[in-house]
């Protein structure tokens, strides 16, 4: 009788295993499998066919040469400056946008966390509210705002502050604006959740021990909110690196971000293998630093 308490029926075990493994299944099906396909294609040759890449194996070619993998695509990426410029520009735009999001988002999150609970919920709603309209629509709205005959230029012209319309649309500035505008909720929310939970006694204690307000912030508040800073920065930086729509719609010809380069390779040049190689390298560029960061954080936690 007593033993029955400790052993679980087979059905229970199966169920538990299923629940625990569910996120892994999700990752396997929607991330690993597609990535494996992309990874495989990156070693193929482009052909004019359906699908537009060569086979990976051809066993009719005999035991020595059945594997048709090629590193040509990767070689091509390293040789052509275009890709490196795109990668670099993407990382630069994403990094600067992340810093801008942090500089804008931190005071926002701090302010919201310091509000009365009622006002807090309203302000949080307002942060999330833009998500209720289509992302594409919101980016188009910026075109209307920033264009030569757009709202901002018309207003400034009418007020007599400028003589001729400003060049705002199709510049890097517009891309920064678009990215910061789109991704700032992802920065504010994790920061808010950390700041809201923070024990205000810690800040009082620092002030009591002689810390000025800015010292309280840099000695106590900021270090203790680092988990939120890191989470928010990742949530902004990672999607921003691969961002395609914003540079395509708001950026100029020189706003070469890797997302656009990828799109062009896939849909305009129809060079799937090369595009796959570009995507694989992009993933490595993002995943490797993130993994290093996480392992260093784990070390620190110990």
């Amino acid at each position: 009788m007593t033993e029955a308490k400790y052993s679980t029926p087979l059905g229970d075990k199966l169920w538990r295993w299923l629940v625990i493994s569910l996120p892994y299944w999700w990752l396997a099906i929607f991330f690993l499998a597609p990535f494996a396909i992309v990874f495989k294609i990156s070693f193929a040759d482009p052909v004019i066919a359906q699908p537009p890449f060569s086979n990976f194996f051809d066993f009719s070619l005999g035991a020595d040469s059945w594997l048709l993998a090629t590193l040509d695509n990767y070689r091509f990426i390293t040789e052509d400056n275009l890709y490196w410029i795109s990668y670099f520009k993407s990382l630069k735009i994403a990094a600067i946008s992340t810093v801008l999001c942090l500089l804008l988002g931190y005071p926002m999150a701090y302010g919201i966390a310091k509000c009365q609970p009622k006002t807090r919920n309203i302000l949080l709603m307002l942060v999330i509210l833009p998500f209720w309209t289509s992302f594409l629509l919101r980016v188009y709205a910026w075109i209307v705002m920033l264009g030569k005959t757009g709202a901002i230029n018309s207003l400034l012209l009418k007020m007599g502050l400028i003589a001729s319309p400003l060049e705002m649309l199709y510049t890097d500035g517009a891309v920064y604006l678009g990215i910061v505008y789109t991704y700032i909720p992802f920065m504010v929310l994790p920061l808010y959740s950390v700041l809201e939970k923070m024990d205000t006694n810690l800040q009082d204690a620092a002030a009591d021990l002689g810390a000025r307000r800015w010292q309280v912030f840099f000695n106590i508040t900021l270090p203790l909110s680092m988990p939120g800073v890191i989470a928010g920065s990742m949530l902004v930086f990672i999607p921003a690196v691969g961002e395609f729509v914003i540079p395509a719609l708001l950026g100029g010809i020189d706003s070469l971000m890797i997302g656009r380069t990828l799109y062009d390779e896939f849909f305009i040049n129809r060079d799937w293998p090369l595009a796959s190689a570009v995507a694989t390298v992009l993933l490595l560029i993002i995943v490797v630093p993130v993994m290093l960061l996480q392992s260093s954080q784990r070390e620190e936690a110990k």
């Binding site: 006694n201 810690l202 009082d204 204690a205 002030a207 009591d208 021990l209 002689g210 203790l224």
Partner: protein
């Protein structure tokens, strides 16, 4: 003895006031709180209170939740600006000084130890903010670590410490700046019983050694009683009574204090006779109920026949016995033991008197017996001396 309801005890000219500076007419208060008040919108948290605290006191502010004691503490620390009034410490008006400029440090109830700093870094924080030379910081930190016996844990993070150790870090961190006043918010609340007793004595020793003026805020009357030189009982934003623990316990000024500071049996009785003994002492008799139990009480003010008054008596002042006691000044009543709790050193009895009210008695277990001296449902007599009755204004 009977005249001690007022604080102006007769003082011969050569009295030593070093332990009781508040009785010294020449003493200059170290901390002066002058009609200090705090409004939050329509709500009055602290209602223009005045208080003098002397150098080296361990002063306790005692009150229930929402009585305004925390707001008072936060005003002393500088986290809350007073709406009216002044706080003067050592002759300097600090009412408008920000928290970081006050000669006051605080030990928080939750300890508020910085989780991302080691024990030593926590303790050094206050001195670092004062930009002291690092050699001095190091020597003072190790001195402080020794004082609170944390030398071996200097490089630990707070996560690796027990509650009692965290408390000592918080204490050391607050003391290292050698504040003129140390504020302690419920210093013992988060500790378990054994540790509380030990810490309580440590705190008192430390305070004696350093001579720093301590102001403790607590809701726990036992904490207030054992720690303090004087206690201020607070209710609804004001002080109800200020005095030594003994004064507050034995001579409470009203029902609230009597009930809040310790346990007390309270009776509403009608005065039937009042006799003057000397210039400040009266003996009254008061009828408790229709049965006519007469309570005898000593009183410092005159009461008229027919006045209704509250009379209280502490559980430990009552005698409980199965034989009917005899005595001139005794109030005697009888009842049935309805409930009893055996604590080893003493027992607590809840006796239902014949008029139906519950009277609590605490009695020492003087004898070593194999069975309980009194059992449930035993018929007992309760008695107490008239000097033990506390006559309370309504």
């Amino acid at each position: 003895m009977t005249a001690a309801t007022d604080n102006k005890a007769p003082t011969p000219s050569e009295t030593d006031f070093s332990e009781t500076p508040w009785l010294d007419p020449q003493a200059v208060p170290f901390i002066q709180i002058k009609s200090l008040g705090k409004q939050f919108g329509d709500f009055t948290a602290v209602d223009s209170i005045s208080l003098d605290i002397y150098q080296g006191e361990l002063f306790t502010i005692l009150g229930g939740s929402g009585c305004g004691k925390s707001t008072l503490l936060r005003m002393l620390a500088g986290f809350e600006a007073p709406s009216v009034g002044q706080i003067i410490i050592d002759g300097v008006d600090i009412s408008d000084l920000p928290a970081y400029d006050r000669p006051v440090n605080m030990m928080f109830q939750s300890y508020a130890v910085f989780p991302h700093m080691t024990v030593a870094q926590n303790i050094a924080y206050g001195l670092k903010k004062d930009r002291l030379p690092s050699a001095e910081i190091d020597s003072r930190v190790s001195e402080m670590l020794e004082l609170v016996q944390l030398q071996d844990l200097a490089s630990r993070k707070p996560k690796q410490l027990s509650g009692g150790q965290c408390q000592r870090v918080a204490l050391a961190r607050a003391l290292i700046k050698r504040p003129k006043v140390l504020l302690l918010d419920e210093p013992l609340a988060a500790l378990d019983k054994k540790l509380r007793e030990q810490t309580q004595f440590e705190l008192m020793n430390l305070q004696y050694k350093l001579g720093t003026t301590f102001i403790v805020v607590t809701h726990d009357q036992e904490e207030a009683m054992t720690l303090s030189s004087r206690v201020a009982v607070m209710d609804e934003g004001g002080f109800v009574q200020i005095g030594t623990p003994l004064e507050v316990y034995e001579f409470p000024v009203n029902r609230f204090v009597a009930d809040f500071f310790g346990t007390i049996n309270l009776f509403d009785a009608t005065v039937t006779s009042s006799t003057q003994i000397d210039s400040t002492t009266y003996t009254i008799e008061a009828a408790l109920d229709k049965i006519g139990t007469l309570i005898k009480a000593d009183c410092s003010h005159q009461l008229k026949e027919g006045d209704i008054t509250s009379i209280g008596v502490r559980p430990e002042k009552l005698s409980i016995s199965q034989k009917k006691p005899r005595g001139k000044n005794l109030t005697i009543t009888s009842g049935v033991v309805e409930d009893l709790a055996y604590y080893g050193n003493r027992s607590i009895y809840r006796v239902r008197s014949h008029s139906g009210r519950i009277i609590q008695v605490s009695a020492q277990n003087f004898q070593r017996t194999k069975e309980l001296v009194l059992e449930w449902d035993d018929q007992v007599y309760l008695s107490w001396d008239s000097s033990c009755s506390v006559v309370l204004p309504e």
